[in-house]
Symmetry: C2
């Protein structure tokens, strides 16, 4: 199944496009994230890419209040997200409680991506939920 | 070598972070692109990710006028970009002439990502310049 979203405006913005295989980075950003019960958990704020390989490693989900006010940021392994075309967003196999206890940081703080242990902590926390 | 750029504001924006290995997607977007002669060619507008594998395939560079006015968009294979920390941007081994003749589309148009031949056209055009 293939979906395409294009936007044409006179302000010069380029289509943020999606095909059955590729998705534009600025379309991923802002996409809703749901759990399997259909509850909206938050949305993707940004994602972390390995500079050398070009492999997306983590998606950072914003969760909580209105965006920018009281949000917390939860990095998820990219593999934990599955795109659901019917919902028009990503699905992650998590309940809200588990998500709330997950590694996170608040607006205005930094994630400690420089420490390899930080990524491992995220991988370990979600280890049981990763798609094989 | 490792560089980190963090932004702390009271408006709730999260740090767009970079480490020696990982870079945030919203930091890639907007990063300058230079050629080896040091000329600024444009900046990364967005990049295309394979949804299943999470592999970045193409970076779309905006080129030409001020962003949003008269820009053209040039998809480049991700492998054609090398991050140069001294310049604070990506370097691509291209002269302006070759870039101007490359596959591109204008503001308000869509790239035909749905056609696999489109990606191959880009790969072929830049084939001689890809880092092995």
């Amino acid at each position: 199944m293939q979906t395409t979203t294009t936007t044409r405006t006179t302000s010069g913005s380029v289509a943020t496009d999606e095909t059955d295989r590729l998705i534009a980075s600025n379309k991923v950003e802002g996409t809703a994230v749901y759990n399997r019960q259909g509850e909206r958990l938050g949305s993707v704020y940004n994602f972390m890419v390995d500079k050398r390989s070009g492999q997306v490693e983590y998606a950072v989900m914003s969760f909580g209040g209105f965006l920018g006010i009281g949000d917390s940021y939860h990095p998820l392994p990219w593999k934990a997200l599955t795109y659901d075309t019917a919902k028009g967003g990503y699905v992650v196999d998590l309940d809200k409680d588990r998500l709330q206890r997950a590694p996170s940081y608040a607006s205005g703080e930094t994630a400690n991506w420089r420490d390899p242990a930080y990524g491992r902590q995220i991988d370990d926390y979600y280890g049981g939920f990763l798609r094989s």
